[in-house]
Amino acid sequence: MTAIPIPHIRQRPSTGRLLLYAATSLLLVFLVAPILVVFPLSLSSGELLVLPTPGYSWRWYADFFTSQRWLLATYNSFVVGILTTLIATTLGTLASIGLYLGRFRGKAFVLAVLSLPMVTPVIVTAIALYFSLSAVGLGSTLTGLVLAHTVLSVPYVLLTVLASLQAFDPNLLRAAASLGASPLQSFYRVVLPLIMPAVATGALFAFATSFDELIVALFIASPDQFTLPRQMYAGIREFLSPTIAAAAVLIILLSVVLLMINETIRKRAIRHTLPPTDRTP
């Protein structure tokens, strides 16, 4: 049976519709405009953060890339971010598989304990780590910061990978075993490729969490361990120079790159008919 073609009627949108579209457009502008405003400010040739800018120049970017403090902060952010991502993704993925395989009581409790850092207000985590890291001599170290960021970002890895494992068909493991694959082989050849998009998404979230994290850094980082957000915060508090706007633009561009990578992973995962592993709709 073929569907009866519905005649295409082009209606003039009602006033209500137009109002709705106008409101939505305005709100979307409200969401994006403050982020866009930083771009011209960062390119100002003047010393003040005013619009319209007196002229345009790259001087504040030059300032960023020649300043010891900003370069150190960038370096620290990447070192902490990458280490956090590696540890959180590895341990988080292994634990997710463990939680998927395990048939024991208290599994929900273990999951709750592991995701507790996600629902704990960050300030509480920050002071807890401030007290204990200084007690064991890890205050004011990058190691302490990596530990803290790992704990904060591991729930995201755990939840994304677990969600994708829910859709994993255990018969595939039996099939692999029946074909003579060792458990390790079937992990590498069967499980890992299937959950890879979720692992990648989790890793991306872990990196973004660490890269954006400020509150823990406020408590446990001395100037030598300042990350980009921490350096930015110090800059805002001391002297509001357009270098901060330049730093903000660079961070925004990195966030957009991360977002694009995430969207690509998500679209590929959908195309491969895997369930969407991302929380974004």
Binding site: L27, P34, V38, L99, L101, P121, T150, F211, I252, S255
Partner: protein, 394 residues
């Protein structure tokens, strides 16, 4: 078979569990324990503590107790360790710090008995009530910090009484935190609704663009977005420049460091958290229901109120819950764009940890904040179906 499988599972979970236990659960527990711990006086004045444990609490303690307190306090002061003791006792009753310091300075000049010298200096030294306060502070636990964080304290007789008006700041702080969080949640829910609805009915191309415009701020760090508002709302900032060039105002309007700035920036930061769950719920509402209602003769507003609104409610609830939970713990945004009267609980936890060092109060506030968040999570988990699906990214 199951055992072998569970062993493998345990081996896979163990490394992460160990990491989270050591670098999160244990520190968290130790920190929250500070809210009830009373260790300053027993550790720094051990001998006085032991003597006071034997004291009956009725008559004045003996000369030995007076001398022990002064000697131990002086030793502590020489090693720069007296601060916590003085703070602890001053927290019990404002003014005890100066009284102890005065006694400590004068004690070197006492010819005869320390007890008589001190009492001559300040009659309060001869008050058994004062010694009651000291004895009460010898640990191991105290309810004082929790009481203080809800504007209560222990009277000299041990009864729970309200704190003096100028010290009663914490209930106000909790109310303010709730007021800001509720307002932000309400604004976010109201603004998110039309956006999410429009995005759910637009042709796919436009939806994709709209969702991108929501996701870009969602992925941009909170600090960067707050910084943007910090710059925009300055007295010489772009908004004031615009208002003046349009001749809407003559003088720059003060926007930064106001409650308005806090609401504006917080709504901007949290709005995507309200839009995204609402959008995914609305996307799942079949247009058939609305058509059915229309075919039965329901007018537009009625279709909306009776069909669409109830069906989209789980999305509103999930988004609102998320926004409220995140707002209650907000720190950076109010700290940067708010004034001194716009700071929330998190700010004071930081303040009592770093600036005015009173770790007991910081821990008690942290425990209460955690408890509140825990209750919210539990409510959301039980009542809001969309909540478990939605994620949090702070």
């Amino acid at each position: 078979m199951v055992t072998k499988r569970n062993l493998l599972a345990a081996a896979l979970i163990a490394p992460l569990l160990l990491l989270v236990l050591v670098s999160f659960i244990v520190p968290l527990g130790a920190t929250l324990y500070r809210a009830v711990e009373d260790a300053e006086i027993p550790t720094i004045l051990p001998q006085t503590t032991a003597l006071l444990k034997q004291w009956d609490g009725e008559a004045l303690p003996s000369e030995q107790v007076y001398r022990s307190l002064i000697t131990e306090l002086r030793d502590a002061q020489e090693q720069q360790k007296a601060g916590p003791v003085l703070n602890r006792l001053n927290f019990e009753e404002t003014g005890l710090r100066s009284m102890l310091l005065q006694g400590l300075r004068a004690s070197g000049r006492f010819a005869g008995s320390t007890k008589e010298g001190l009492i001559a200096l300040n009659p309060r030294w001869g008050d058994p009530q004062f010694w009651g306060l000291v004895k009460r502070s010898t640990g191991p636990w105290t309810p004082l910090y929790f009481l203080r964080s809800v504007d209560l304290k222990l009277g000299p007789d041990g009864a729970v009484v309200p704190t003096a008006e100028e010290e009663a700041v914490f209930i106000k702080l909790f109310l303010r935190t709730f007021e800001i969080s509720l307002t932000v949640t309400l604004i976010c829910a109201v603004l998110a609704y039309p956006i999410a609805y429009t995005l759910s009915i637009l042709p796919q191309v436009w939806t994709n663009i709209g969702i991108m415009l929501v996701l870009i701020p969602f992925w941009t760090s909170i600090l960067v977005r707050t910084t943007a508002w910090f710059i925009i709302l300055q007295r010489e900032g772009p908004i004031n420049a615009l208002l003046i060039s349009l001749h809407l105002v003559d003088q720059p309007v003060t926007m930064i460091f106001t409650r308005f700035a806090v609401y504006l920036a917080m709504v901007h930061v949290l709005l995507p958290f309200a839009i995204l769950p609402l959008y995914s719920v609305m996307k799942g509402i079949k247009p058939d229901y609305m058509r059915a209602a229309a075919s039965l003769g329901a007018p537009g507003w009625r279709r909306f109120l009776r069909i669409y609104l109830p069906l989209s409610m789980p999305g509103v609830a999930a988004g609102a819950m998320m926004v409220f939970m995140l707002s209650v713990g907000f720190y950076i945004t109010p700290a940067l764009v708010g004034g001194s009267g716009d700071q929330m609980i998190s700010y004071f936890i930081a303040f009592f940890t770093n600036t005015s060092v009173n770790w007991g109060i910081a821990a008690a506030l942290a425990a209460l904040l955690m408890g509140m968040t825990g209750v919210l999570v539990a409510i959301a988990w039980l009542l809001v179906p969309g909540f478990r699906a939605g994620g949090v990214r702070v």
